[in-house]
């Protein structure tokens, strides 16, 4: 057991997989010599050498295209897209290429690759460097989508992603890089498609992802302490594959559903989850499922405004309380 930052967990996770399998290679902008702009990949170049850890030009399409070409011919690349907002400049590879090639070729082509990317707000970087874009990927058939909230999950889910035979988009939250958590020694491998109940409760189910998990947890504690409302908090962790069983089971016992989404509202992952629950657990619901999201706006840069835009502990508490007491 050791305490590790989320940032260091990234490097450890990559190193764990690169040590295990010589087919795992890593590429991205400023990732090698500089150790990444978030310093999340420090030491990998030194450990694995310049043939396996490669700096690229500012060419996101070339990065993902190269990752795909390498993956379909035998390697297991990890590609970094520095900020998840930049997925927009190479979206074709996620939307049309490595997501569809297995299906289109009747199973001939395999693309075991991982795209790691810095996601989310809270760093006052403004509208083009702060987005939560898990839904950009969730909506594409053929992709798997993961977003860890703890250092341990970073390692475990990254290992699962690298070992997975399908393309996995791995969202690291920029505002979590500095956070710490206990991590066991030795190899850690988790499973994709498994949500985690991080707080048991009986009055309502709160679904959250990444940075929203600690906020949902804090809100749950506050709701308990101040209002006697006992929430179950689920860290969804993996949007595709999606652990609907854990979620449906929880709703069947709490009878209420809330989602806490960092993305702007429309077509967020929470919409999909609400539609699943509303369809399949309709008669278990005692009241409307409610989504707590960033409003449907671009993120502002100024600290005060950004803080008010993203779901806060207070907003979660207020929404849950008002909704349950309605």
């Amino acid at each position: 057991m050791a305490e590790l930052t989320y940032r260091d967990a990234v490097a450890r996770g990559i190193a764990q997989e690169m040590s295990r399998d010589a087919d795992v290679v890593f590429l991205g902008e400023d990732v090698a010599k500089a150790g990444g702009v978030f310093k999340a990949t420090v030491g990998l170049l030194e450990q694995f050498g310049p043939l396996r850890v490669r700096d690229t030009p500012i060419s996101e399409q070339a990065i993902l295209g190269a990752a795909m070409g390498a993956a379909m011919t035998g390697l297991k690349p990890i590609a970094e897209i520095m900020f998840s907002d930049f997925i927009a400049v190479c979206f074709d590879y996620l939307a049309n290429e490595f997501s569809k090639s297995r299906y289109m070729t009747n199973g001939q082509v395999k693309c075991p690759l991982v795209v790691r990317t810095g996601n989310g707000g809270g760093s006052r970087f403004g509208a083009q460097h702060s987005q939560s874009v898990e839904n950009w990927c969730m909506m594409i058939p053929g992709l798997k989508v993961v977003a860890p909230s703890t250092p341990r999950d970073v390692i475990g889910l990254l290992a699962a992603a690298v070992r997975d035979p399908d393309p996995v988009i791995f969202f690291e939250h920029k505002s979590l890089y500095a956070t710490k958590g206990e991590v066991e020694d030795g190899e850690i491998v988790d499973a994709l498609g498994t949500a985690k109940i991080v707080r048991a409760g009986s009055d309502a189910t709160i679904l959250a992802l990444a940075l929203m998990v600690p906020r949902a947890l804090a809100a749950a504690e506050k709701l308990k302490a101040e209002h006697g409302i006992d929430c179950e908090v689920i860290d969804v962790r993996s949007l595709v594959p999606l652990d609907t069983q854990t979620i449906l089971r929880s709703v069947a016992s709490t009878h209420r559903l809330f989602t806490v989404e960092e993305n702007p509202r429309l077509c967020g992952w929470g919409a999909e989850l609400v539609s699943i629950v509303a369809d399949e657990a309709f008669y278990h619901l005692d009241g409307p499922p409610v989504r707590i999201t960033t409003p449907h706006i671009p993120l502002p840069a100024a600290d005060f405004l950004e803080d008010m835009a993203m779901p806060t502990v207070d907003r979660i508490c207020g929404t849950v309380r008002r909704s349950l007491q309605a």
Binding site: A62, G65, A66, G69, Y103, V109, G193
Partner: protein, 365 residues
């Protein structure tokens, strides 16, 4: 002529090879090529000719089949452009990898994929290469080294880089060959791929088939240089190469050169082939945008099969042997057509297979 001499272009061959560079005009080249001393051996020549006519026959059949409404959706033929696919098909080693476009029937056939697999896919039958799941624009046969046909312009150039990177990393000796059109040189992915390939010195050959049109628009109207690929080679520190794409020998020799260079660790090449498509851009296109006489001129004076047939005769190959190859090709295409017609539609069970590696499509538990 739409394309004249380019002062910046330097031939990269000195003596023997020079014949297959574009001279001032295509007509001159074509003439000069017929007079070129022969350095291609007979077996190779027969093989190249067989490929040319098989591709021509198969593409013509595809055209006939969609006139009969047996090919659904769209379809992009290489009628007229066969020599590029054939030249590379002959020059590539087993294990070398092809990355094609939606206009990829020819390149797929040239790697040895059975005709019925290709036609069957166009017809949406179970016999098809992809059992109908991909369609004409996505022909792929990993066992033949055809690593896919890509329908988003430019997307496969970076992908070919990745394949070449794998070869470089693993110390494998295969070369990745990426085919694309003149219009493709104007999209961003082209630029990113070329730069990366050179910086990483990857074993990849970028093959630009300049058929003078980007869909319906003459390439010169939307391109800042005369030779969309060759005039940009220097932007990546590469040599500028233009080759007569109607001469299968010229294609073969230039392909060999580029492949050898890549295999020897010399890095990427970008080669531009001047060619022409006889059919419309796709099945929907009657190609009315062509200047009068242009198509006829190419068909008459620059047809890859005519040129090659004459060269064979000039080099003493018997008319009977040539005719036999031609009959063979027609027979193969006929047989393939029958197989396809007899094949059923793909079964409903495969609708949701192979989305993920477990064989299924389950995005949830």
């Amino acid at each position: 002529m739409r394309f004249g001499p380019c002062p910046r272009r330097q031939p990269c061959y000195n003596s023997a090879g020079q014949a297959y560079f574009m001279a001032k005009t295509l007509t001159q080249t074509a003439v000069s090529l017929r007079a070129t001393p022969d350095d291609v051996d007979v077996q190779l020549r027969l093989k190249l000719y067989r490929m040319l006519v098989e591709i021509r026959e198969a593409e013509q059949r595809a055209y006939d089949l969609f006139l009969q409404n047996l090919v659904k959706g769209t379809s992009h033929l290489s009628l007229g452009q066969e020599a590029v696919a054939a030249g590379y098909g002959a020059a590539m080693e087993p294990g070398d990898l092809s990355f094609c476009t939606y206009r990829g029937h020819a390149h797929t056939l040239a790697r040895g994929v059975p005709i019925e697999k290709v036609l069957g896919e166009l017809m949406g039958r179970d016999i098809g290469l992809l059992r109908g799941k991909g369609g004409s624009m996505h022909l792929t046969s990993v066992e033949h080294g055809v690593m896919g046909s890509y329908a988003i312009i430019g997307a496969h150039l970076p992908i070919a880089c990745g394949s070449a990177w794998r070869a470089q990393y693993k110390g494998a000796k295969d070369v990745s060959v990426c085919f694309f059109g003149d219009g493709t040189t104007n999209i961003g992915a082209f630029h990113e791929a070329l730069n990366l390939a050179v910086v990483w010195k990857l074993p990849v050959v970028f093959v630009c088939e300049n058929n003078l049109y980007m869909e319906y628009t003459p390439i010169g109207e939307v391109t800042s240089v005369e030779h969309p690929a060759a005039d940009r080679a220097s932007a990546y520190g590469l040599e500028s190469i233009v080759v007569d794409g109607q001469d299968a020998d010229a294609v073969y020799r230039s392909a060999k050169e580029a492949l050898d260079k890549a295999r020897a660790g010399g890095g990427p090449s970008l080669v531009e082939y001047m060619t022409y498509r006889y059919s419309g851009h796709s099945r929907a296109d009657p190609a009315k945008y062509r200047p009068a006489g242009e198509l006829d001129d190419w068909r008459e004076n620059r047809d890859a099969i005519k040129i090659y047939r004459q060269r064979m005769l000039d080099n003493g190959i018997a008319e009977t042997q040539i005719a036999e190859i031609e009959q063979d090709a027609r027979r193969k295409v006929d047989e393939a057509t029958e197989k396809c017609k007899a094949s059923p539609a793909p079964p409903l069970e495969i609708l949701c297979t192979d989305v993920y590696a477990d064989g299924g499509w389950a995005w949830r538990n």
